[in-house]
Each structure stands twice: as structure tokens, then as C-alpha cells.
């Protein structure tokens, strides 16, 4: 069984996005588990800056050679920054999904929604269960 890095400071969705919260700014990416399951990401489609997103709804797409996967917003809010270089070269999503491979920054509408997300120990448990 593979062990994945699951930084303690992040929040997680059950669809394997991570969210790093700094006051009302939320940086979003996919987890190491997700990139490993996807295989080589060959394409990604990200929203425009200023676009509104809703918790649990798609804000973009990542494609590996074989599969298309929706990216789901961990919180509701407004996209204020997009990791645009990924749209030409998405390699960082595989190489460094939790740093260089970040996808978007969202200005979150309400902190209350964070209660719907998982913390590291709980997320770790869900991926351990899905592997066994």
C-alpha cells in the first residue's frame, strides 16, 4: 500500500481536493492520492478570475490520457487567482500537486462551509479504506 503525504494544515474533500485556508483566502489543489489515481495529467481547464463557484460544484476539469475528472470547489466564493501556466503544461499537478500544482485561489463567502470538509486524520482514513 502506498503512503501519501497529507499535510495537517489542509482541509480535504471526499473527491480528493485539498484546501489551504489563510483567513478568507482558500488555495485549492488535488491531493497526492488523486494525482496517483489519475496518472499523467495531460490537460486541465480552469475557471476565469472573478468567476463565482459553489461548494461541491465543478469549477474545472483535469484530464489524464484515459479519463476526464471534474474538479469540485471545496468552498463557495469568487476565484481571485488561477495557476494559469498549468493550462499549457499541467505537469506540476503530478510532480508537486500540493505546492507548485495548486489550481485556484478562492475568496470564500463563509467560513461556515469549512465544517463540511475533512481534516487530515479523517481524510487519511477514507483513502486507507478505499485502498483496502
Amino acid at each position: 500500500m502506498t503512503t501519501y503525504k497529507i499535510p495537517e494544515e489542509n482541509y480535504y474533500t471526499k473527491e480528493h481536493e485539498w484546501a489551504y485556508v489563510d483567513e478568507n483566502l482558500v488555495t485549492v489543489g488535488i491531493t497526492e492520492f488523486a494525482q496517483d489515481a489519475l496518472g499523467e495529467v495531460v490537460y486541465c481547464e480552469l475557471p476565469e478570475e472573478g468567476q463565482k463557484v459553489n461548494q461541491g460544484e465543478p469549477f474545472g476539469v483535469v484530464e489524464s490520457v484515459k479519463a476526464v475528472s471534474d474538479l469540485l470547489a471545496p468552498v463557495s466564493g469568487t476565484v481571485i487567482e488561477v495557476n494559469a501556466p498549468l493550462q499549457d503544461d499541467p505537469g506540476a499537478i503530478n510532480d508537486d500537486p500540493q505546492n507548485e500544482g495548486w489550481l485556484v485561489r478562492i475568496e470564500m463567502d463563509t467560513e461556515k462551509e469549512l465544517a463540511n470538509l475533512m481534516r487530515a486524520p479523517e481524510y487519511k482514513k477514507t483513502i486507507t479504506e478505499s485502498q483496502s
Partner: protein
């Protein structure tokens, strides 16, 4: 249905293959990475476990007569040791499966290599429409390994001796691997030189390990299903369930060259003749994306005046070309090379253009 393992499944797990359930088979989708594996086959040599493929033995005095009725190509042309790409056709002129017919003994003994996902369907179909041949399912007896790439024949010489070089394209030879007879065919699904080797299941692990060991100087790599698909798509080879199925016509699929309507009567031949006479309404073409986006199977195609004109059968990024390519059925008026149309990707219409195929020109 439980997942079946090939004799090599545990070898793949040991080598770090990412394993998936592929049509009921526990198969590696990739090992070190799809792009690396793809390049390895285009530039060096790669190994594919294709043991999931089905093998049906058709023998006896009525074998030729049966195969002439069941398949679209002219089996009477095959000499001992020759192989032929062909189709099992249905009475509507559609395609039950695509396959390779290997002639072990003209008029007496043939081996059919069929798609894994169709094997049970094929066996039932062949049995039902048989004209007195003896039909045996030998799928569990045989493992199959494909060795493909510009360095494949050098590696095979090391493993099986110099006689492998005498095998011509679409021919095969029984050769000994450590005393066990295997069938070595100069065929493949990548567009590269190489062989596909039928080997009894119990020696498959030894054969595979020997190939990896003797292949070290050639930097041989095991190749997953992911690269198998990108390699075949770059050659515009049909994949059953994508380009061809029970309802597609061989003429529309561009497989008229394996349909010998002048030579014989076979299942569905009249229907296929009538498609040919009328001229096909649509044809299978290759295209590349002109804007960002990957076309996927089932995506709809539109004209610039917004009429739906076709569907994508396969689409992928091409590792060799660094472009996004695809295959689709389009009305004949769109089939001219350079015709532009739109692919609907997640509610957006993205420009594409028909191009010459194979996408990757070899030799």
C-alpha cells in the same frame, strides 16, 4: 463477474504496474508512465502482456469452408505459416469482431486470435454458424506477449535465435523457447516492427522474465494498456467498441481491404456489397484539434452552421506528435483532408480538422 488474471498479472504487480479491471481482466494500465512507455515502443522496444486475448482453434476437414463463411477475408489464400487480418461479420453486414487468422495447416487447422472482451460472444457465434469444423476454445492454454519497437527483432534474436528474422510480415513460425514450442508471428498493434508470441501459459513467466533480462541492454520496458491505446490510435488502427461494433459497416470503417466480396459469399456479404454499391454515407477519418481540448469517445461533432454531423470514436493526446488527435465517423462530404468542423467538449465547440492517417508516418 470476477476479475480474471493472466499468467503475468502478479509479475506486473511486482514491477509496479498500476492495475485495473479491464473488461474483466486484471491488467496494467501503466508502469513507469504512459509517455515514457509510448516513446520506448516508438524508439526502442517494449513488452506487452496480451494474454487476455482469446484463441479459438478451428480444425478438421470443414475448417476452411467454415472460415470462408464466417470471416470476410479470403482464407483460401493462406499458406502454412501465414496470418491474415479479418472480420467476423453478422447477417446485417456489421462486425462481430476483428481478428487475426493464423494458418497452421491449409484446409485443416487454423488459430483465430480474437478480442478478450468478445471471446465468449465470438465462440457462441462461430459455433452457431459453423459449417462442420471442430472448434475449441484454447484461450486459457495460451499466454501472449507482444514485443514491439525498432529494436524488437534484435531482442528476439537474443531470446529465440537468428531464425526469427526469417519471419515475414503477417507470417509466423513455431519456435522453441527452452524446449517449449511457441508461435512467433510478425504482427502487432503499434505500427512498429516486432512480433506477437503465443506461448503456453505455464512458461509465460519464464518467457517474460527472459525478455526483460535479455532486453536490459536495449532498455526494454513493460508497456501498459494506456500506451497500447495511444500507439494504436496514432496508427488509426480500429479498436472494437470504439471504431467498430455490431452495427458498423466494414466499408464505412475503411476495412474494405479485408472484405473479399469478389472471392466468395460469406455472412452478411450481400449487405456489405450493397453499402459498397450505394457508396458509404459516412467514413472513418482522423482529425486533430486546432484549439485546446481533448476529444473523447462519444463526443458530438458539429458543422459550422450548427448541425450535428458525427461522433468521436477515439481521442487522445498523441505523445509522438504533441497534438490532440482523434478518430470519428463523418459524412463523406467532410472526409476530405483539411475539412474543418467542431467538437463539442463540455458544452463548448472546439475547432478540429481532418488530417492524413496514420497520424504518425513510419519508415
Amino acid at each position: 463477474m470476477s476479475t480474471q488474471k493472466t499468467p503475468l498479472s502478479s509479475e506486473h504487480e511486482r514491477l509496479g504496474g498500476k492495475m485495473v479491471d479491464f473488461d474483466g481482466w486484471w491488467m496494467p494500465v501503466q508502469f513507469k508512465g504512459l509517455k515514457l512507455e509510448h516513446a520506448c515502443v516508438r524508439e526502442g522496444v517494449g513488452l506487452f502482456d496480451v494474454s487476455h486475448m482469446g484463441e479459438l482453434r478451428v480444425s478438421g476437414e470443414h475448417s476452411l469452408k467454415s472460415l470462408q463463411w464466417l470471416t470476410s477475408n479470403d482464407v483460401s489464400k493462406l499458406k502454412k505459416g501465414q496470418a491474415q487480418y479479418s472480420l467476423l461479420t453478422n447477417f446485417e453486414g456489421g462486425i462481430v469482431d476483428d481478428l487475426i487468422v493464423y494458418c497452421l495447416e491449409p484446409g485443416a487447422d487454423y488459430l483465430l486470435c480474437v478480442n478478450a472482451s468478445n471471446k465468449d460472444k465470438d465462440l457462441a457465434w462461430v459455433t452457431k454458424n459453423n459449417k462442420g469444423a471442430d472448434i475449441t476454445d484454447e484461450s486459457s492454454f495460451w499466454a501472449q506477449v507482444a514485443i514491439q519497437g525498432p529494436k524488437a527483432m534484435e531482442l528476439m534474436k537474443e531470446v529465440l535465435g537468428a531464425s526469427v528474422e526469417s519471419i515475414n510480415s503477417f507470417s509466423f513460425l513455431p519456435l522453441s523457447f527452452k524446449g517449449t514450442e511457441c508461435l512467433v508471428a510478425r504482427t502487432g498493434y503499434t505500427g512498429e516492427d516486432g512480433v506477437e508470441v503465443f506461448i503456453p501459459s505455464e512458461v509465460a513467466v519464464d518467457f517474460w522474465s527472459t525478455l526483460l533480462k535479455k532486453g536490459e541492454p536495449f532498455d526494454v520496458q513493460p508497456i501498459g494498456l494506456g500506451a497500447r491505446d495511444t500507439l494504436r490510435t496514432e496508427m488509426k488502427y480500429s479498436l472494437y467498441g470504439h471504431e467498430i461494433d455490431d452495427s458498423t459497416s466494414p466499408i464505412e470503417a475503411g476495412l474494405g481491404w479485408v472484405v473479399k466480396l469478389e472471392a466468395k459469399e460469406f455472412i452478411g456479404s450481400e449487405k456489405i456489397q450493397s453499402v459498397k454499391d450505394k457508396g458509404p454515407q459516412q467514413k472513418l477519418v482522423g482529425f486533430k484539434m486546432l484549439e485546446r481540448g481533448i476529444a473523447r469517445q462519444g463526443y458530438r461533432l458539429f458543422s459550422f452552421d450548427n448541425n450535428e454531423v458525427g461522433r468521436v470514436t477515439s481521442g487522445t493526446p498523441s505523445p509522438s506528435l504533441s497534438e490532440n488527435i482523434g478518430i470519428a465517423y463523418l459524412p463523406v462530404e467532410y472526409c476530405k483532408i483539411g475539412s474543418e468542423f467542431l467538437v463539442e467538449i463540455r458544452n463548448k465547440k472546439i475547432k478540429a480538422v481532418t488530417v492524413k492517417t496514420p497520424f504518425v508516418q513510419k519508415g
